[in-house]
């Protein structure tokens, strides 16, 4: 065992622990990540290369592509933002209060995870179409949801909810009630206790959940295309545009949009990650 580890340079050699298998786990992890994540991403980066830098730029800056990217990222960000607020409230309610059917509501939160996205999309569409249950109430007010960008936001909000609830819930559950009692005995009212003590402690989890909801929404396809109506320049999302390009055998153009989405998502998630780091600067890790 010790003999095998000496093939590693000194700085990589682990301290002796009772848990075996650095070599094994490292090997499996690297192989797995390469096959599952890195290779497809490399292909995604290589394919548009045949267009040349100028070609990629032209493919991505077409007005129709820009409009689609704007809608995809805009709706994903808005949906994630809405979920940050209401997901926090749902998690709060589920952790703090006892009420009838609490377990049922707790289970309902996971439905957007489990539902086939096409089913979700068709259900949302039939609800929000001008003759649907909700749509017919909004129609007289001049609000159109289905087949507009608003519909895209409804869909991204729907699929993102469980991410926020399920990341915030355990952190809220673990908060010691003594912290609130301490704040109260020091003179803080309920709002001050929430804003100064509870919220900063759940902020890292809230950011994680929001980032996950965002990431899921950017790539979402199935549930959006039914409710969006897919009008070019108005309610057409980037993943759909990629599919359209593929159907036209424009593989490099499709990959160029994909690469752009990849880079943009990566940058946004990196920013969220840094923000999250900052929000837990007190953890001393």
């Amino acid at each position: 065992m010790a003999g095998r580890l000496t093939i590693l340079p000194a700085w990589l050699r682990p301290e002796r622990t009772v848990i075996p298998g650095l070599g094994l786990t490292l090997g499996v992890t690297v192989t797995y990540l390469t096959l599952i994540v890195l290779l497809p991403l490399a292909a995604l980066a290589l394919r548009p290369a045949e267009l040349g830098l100028g070609g990629i730029w032209d493919a991505v800056t077409q007005p129709r592509v820009l409009a689609a990217l704007r809608l995809s990222f805009g709706a994903a960000l808005l949906g994630a933002g809405i979920n940050a607020v209401f997901g926090l409230m749902v998690a709060w309610m589920l952790v703090r209060y006892d009420f009838p059917l609490k377990r049922v509501i707790d289970a309902i939160v996971d439905l957007p995870f489990a539902l086939p996205t096409a089913v979700a999309g068709i259900a949302l569409t039939s609800l929000y179409a001008p003759n649907g249950w909700v749509g017919q109430l909004l129609d007289p007010l001049g609000i159109k949801v289905a087949f507009t960008p608003l519909g895209v936001i409804v869909a991204t909000t729907f699929i993102g909810l469980p991410f926020v609830v399920r990341t915030v819930q355990p952190v809220l559950e673990d908060l010691e009630s003594e912290l609130e009692e301490a704040a109260g005995s020091l003179g803080a009212n309920r709002w001050e206790t929430f804003s100064r003590v509870i919220f900063p402690l759940i902020l890292p989890a809230l950011l994680t959940g929001t980032a996950l909801a965002f990431a899921r929404a950017v790539g979402e396809y199935g549930s959006i295309i039914f409710i969006a109506g897919n009008m070019p320049m108005v309610s057409e999302i980037a993943p759909l545009l990629i599919v359209i390009k593929l159907e036209q055998f424009d593989y490099a153009g499709a990959a160029a949009i994909g690469l752009t989405m990849l880079v943009a998502s990566f940058l946004i998630l990196l920013m969220v990650n840094l923000l999250q780091r900052w929000s837990r600067r007190w953890s001393g890790e």
Partner: protein, 346 residues
């Protein structure tokens, strides 16, 4: 500020945590609430602090009925066993918290907060660590931060729930002395909960002993130690060996020995006696009652001796350097005399 508790009751479901407790705590006093777990001491403290509310009874703080008032209306500082520091705030911000959320208008200016907080951190000897976060501190340092935080709002009553319970023995001892000094310096009425009788006896002006939600005895450390009011109190305060006895006025018959009683007992007949290790005298084999040495345990400066006295186990303690201690060996026969005992009707 004085605290008056009269007829306070508190139940949790079917469990009676506090059962008709009457207690008065004088202004500036350092009072210990002592008892085993489940005795209701923490619940009583939380009721005084407004973290729990009594089902019935009345609580007066400085003459004002505070039975149902919110914690922040009571001017009470609370220190928790596990510190309950805000881990996302620096030490400085933890201590400043009570000043920043103060109800008074206008709130203290930033410079005033700074002076006040740094003054308190000096008091608890943590000024150099003001910008650290709680998880960069040791347990003893965290508890000092918690104390400074509770003192920042200038409470009229300071309440501490097992303040040293989670700390190791040495730190505990230092913090005890240091709490005593702070109490002396500030004169704030202080109530602390502990299950450690040594801590209560060492630190408090008076000790309240609780058992199953009821007050068993209230008195100075010397009073409760020398004159335990009940078998429970005697046992809990390190009563020593518990033996069956026969009560006979000012003395009791224990395992064939006649032993003077330290307390006044009504009645005669069967009883329970407690003999403290310090009251067991070890004599040469021919004198006193015959006993066999079962085991010897040297503990620091002391020698603890387990004795077998006619089938009863008895504990004695000697100075390890004393002449009596030097010749002892397990299995040897010695003489035993009991100087005094506390006894209660069975």
């Amino acid at each position: 500020m004085s605290i008056q508790i009269s007829g306070i009751n508190k139940r949790f479901g079917g469990f009676t945590a506090v059962d008709h407790v009457d207690l008065s705590i004088a202004s500036g006093e350092l009072m210990a609430l002592l008892g085993p777990s489940g005795s209701g001491k923490t619940t009583l403290l939380r009721i005084i602090g407004g973290l729990d509310f009594a089902d019935s009874g009345q609580l007066l703080i400085d003459g004002v009925d505070s039975t149902v008032s919110e914690p922040h209306a009571r001017r009470v500082g609370f220190v928790f066993q596990h510190y309950a520091l805000f881990r996302h705030m620096t030490v400085f911000e933890n201590v400043a918290f009570g000043l920043r959320v103060a109800r008074r208008r206008p709130r203290p200016a930033e410079a005033a907060i700074r002076d006040k907080v740094m003054g308190l951190l000096d008091l608890v000897q943590l000024a150099p660590l003001a910008q650290r976060y709680p998880n960069q501190l040791s347990g003893g340092q965290r508890q000092r931060v918690a104390l400074a935080r509770a003192l920042a709002t200038e409470p009229s009553v300071l309440l501490l729930d097992e303040p040293f319970g989670a700390l190791d023995a040495k730190v505990r001892k230092d913090l005890r002395r240091w709490l005593r000094d702070i109490h002396k310096g500030m004169g704030v009425t202080t109530v602390f909960v502990t299950h450690d009788q040594e801590e209560a006896l060492e630190l408090a002006d008076r000790v309240t002993i609780l058992h199953q939600g009821r007050v068993e005895q209230v008195g100075t450390p010397a009073e409760v130690y020398d004159h335990p009011a009940s078998a429970f109190v005697c046992d809990f305060l390190g009563g020593g060996t518990r033996l069956d006895c026969t009560l006979a006025g000012d003395h009791a018959d224990i395992a064939g020995l006649t032993v003077p009683l330290a307390n006044d007992v009504d009645g005669r007949g069967a009883g329970i006696a407690f003999v403290r290790p310090h009251d067991v005298e070890i004599l040469p084999a021919a004198a006193g009652a015959a006993a066999r040495i079962a085991a010897l345990h040297p503990v620091g400066p002391e020698l603890r001796v387990d004795l077998d006295l006619a089938g009863h186990r008895l504990e004695a303690v000697l100075d390890r350097q004393s002449p009596e201690a030097i010749g002892l060996s397990p299995g040897a026969l010695v003489g035993v005399r009991l100087r005094r005992a506390n006894a209660y009707p069975a």
